[in-house]
């Protein structure tokens, strides 16, 4: 298996396919070549087992039970929070669980955005954002009379820090919201640099870490962002749980978002007071099992070491770029070098619509996504309705890239 091969030039790579039960699945005699991890990742045995164990042995509601089972559930849940916060170097107190990264961004857009933005203020986002980091800001700026402006990308899919500087100099930017790694182009943005400049100009920064957290080491404290949001299901964790890492003082100053059980200190008929962080922003029964499962996922990733995950995907991306370049009629979007991108390669095949590419690949059990990838403004910038996208995770191997390239050539033969 390519994952086990080590050559003098290639970095050491991972060999973890056996940890992922779904990879045993064949469809129509084809092994599963799963290249859609940017959409959602597969789950290692350790995560599936943690969920199973939780429901079979420890399930109870948390925070209020005094019987042993409830104490166990509580310890599992809050213990997982500690490890999940630690995984991205964030304080436990200001690590909030949401449904997904989309809800984490909405939390900020409602609780901070709608209560703080005023006419004359600007929210600055980029042309490469996912809809989840666009539409909440459209609604928040429309509701408050603030302005929504975009940082442009160049033809290599890179942001310009000069344009950032010019935008910040206008003096009206209250928030810069940008993705750490583009889910379409793969571009790795210089987020620490953006934070430094934005803070110097008095603006806050929200980073959408949905793609970055599963792909590379992320250190919330070192980046210095005010808000850093990510999502469990892309990071080998269960569906149904997202994470908001944030500055605690800022969260303390914000009003609650969702209201109800668990986020209160006291409720009287007409007035309530709020619980401490992080619970102030967690209303109702938490996604207990999912947090426990995500705890197992970050343990698993931590044991792999994120530097090695990054090296592994870097190698696969470099190989993919090389192989696709050697295939006539294939156009790749985003930075030219694997050094500048995460584990995502979007491409188009001349004369074949991305849907047809994905459909024909799907018949070989090669799973890629053909879509606007929830980034229609970026598609407009690229001048295409959609692209095909292959994306990588620790369980991918060079043979997956070979199967991809082979299937693309097969599709070209069908449409020849």
């Amino acid at each position: 298996m390519a994952g086990a091969m080590r050559t003098a030039t290639a970095p050491p790579t991972l060999d973890v396919r056996a940890d992922f039960p779904i990879l045993k699945r064949e469809i129509n005699g084809h092994r599963l070549v799963y290249l859609d991890s940017a959409s959602t990742s597969q789950k290692p045995e350790a995560v599936i087992a943690a969920l199973d164990d939780y429901y079979r042995h420890h399930n109870a509601n948390i925070h209020r039970g005094v019987y042993p089972l409830a104490q166990e559930a509580d310890a599992l849940f809050e213990g997982a929070r500690k490890r999940i916060a630690g995984f991205t170097g964030a304080p436990v107190r200001s690590t909030i669980f949401t449904r997904n990264v989309t809800e984490a961004i909405n939390l900020v857009a409602y609780s901070w955005g709608r209560t703080t933005l005023r006419p004359g203020d600007t929210v600055l986002i980029t042309e490469m954002e996912h809809h989840s980091n666009i539409v909440p800001w459209q609604l928040a700026t429309q509701a408050t009379g603030a302005e929504l402006r975009y940082l442009e990308i160049d033809d290599a899919g890179t942001l310009s820090l000069d344009q950032l500087e010019r935008e910040l100099e206008r003096g009206d930017v209250r928030l810069v919201a940008l993705t750490h790694v583009s889910n379409v182009l793969g571009t790795i943005n210089p987020v620490a640099e953006v934070v430094a400049r934005a803070h110097a100009a008095g603006a806050l920064v929200l980073i959408d870490g949905a793609q970055a957290v599963p792909q590379m080491p992320v250190d919330f404290a070192a980046i210095g962002a005010d808000f850093y949001a990510w999502t469990g299901h892309k990071a080998l964790g269960p569906t149904g749980v997202g994470v908001l890492n944030a500055d605690a003082a800022l969260l303390d100053s914000m009003p609650p978002f969702l209201a109800g059980g668990d986020m209160i200190a006291s409720v009287e008929a007409q007035h309530s007071t709020w619980n401490e962080l992080p619970w102030k922003f967690e209303a109702g029964t938490s996604m207990i099992a999912q947090v426990v499962g995500l705890g197992a996922a970050v343990d698993y990733l931590g044991a792999l070491e994120m530097e090695r995950v990054r090296a592994h995907e870097h190698e696969l991306v470099a190989y993919t770029l090389e192989q696709l370049a050697a295939t006539g009629g294939v156009k790749v979007y985003g930075p030219a070098s694997a050094d500048d991108r995460g584990g995502v390669v979007s491409f188009s095949v001349a004369g074949i619509h991305p849907h047809d590419v994905a459909e024909l690949l799907g018949r070989e059990n090669v799973c890629v996504r053909a879509s606007h990838h929830c980034a229609q403004p970026l598609m407009a910038r690229l001048g295409v309705p959609a692209t095909a996208r292959a994306s990588f995770a620790p369980y991918n191997v060079r043979a997956d890239v070979d199967a991809l390239v082979e299937a693309v050539r097969g599709a070209q033969r069908v449409f020849a």
Binding site: H131, I352, H353, P354, H355, D356, E359, L360, R363, A370, S371, H372, H373, C374, Q376, M379, P385, A386, V414, F415
Partner: protein
């Protein structure tokens, strides 16, 4: 040869019939496939209650483009009232291919835009988008 990409589908995709602009026209509509943002438009000239002429326009995958092309050949000459009653089965029979739930949206995009043009209502469910 692949079932979904049969020769006649690819043939219609590569050389679509009745594509372009139709001026003047009496009816027109435009619809999107929320799956991918593909857009299809139609313009129709009506005479004596019939579709005297028709052009599709826009871009899309082999399935949606071929479906529009194949449908266009059936539609020209049809009663407008009859066209308004055409359903998914009509379109799928015409294509004569097995199709997955997701790709149905592609296959039925031309029907959706046709129906929009002849009935005036553009809210025909096609499922979740991106």
């Amino acid at each position: 040869m692949d079932d979904l990409y049969r020769d006649f589908i690819l043939e219609h995709y590569k050389r679509p019939r009745n594509f372009g602009e139709l001026e003047p026209h009496d009816l027109e509509a435009q619809e999107q496939n929320p799956l991918c943002g593909d857009e299809l438009g139609v313009q129709i000239r009506v005479a004596d209650g019939r579709i005297a002429d028709l052009r599709f326009n826009g871009h899309g995958c082999a399935i949606s483009q071929a479906a529009a092309s194949i449908a266009s050949e059936e539609l020209i000459g049809m009663d407008v009232e009859e066209a308004a009653t055409l359903d998914a089965d009509w379109m799928l029979d015409l294509l004569g291919i097995d199709i997955s739930a997701t790709r149905r949206k592609c296959a039925l995009l031309s029907l959706k835009v046709l129906r929009h043009a002849v009935t005036g209502e553009g809210t025909w469910p096609v499922g979740a988008g991106g």
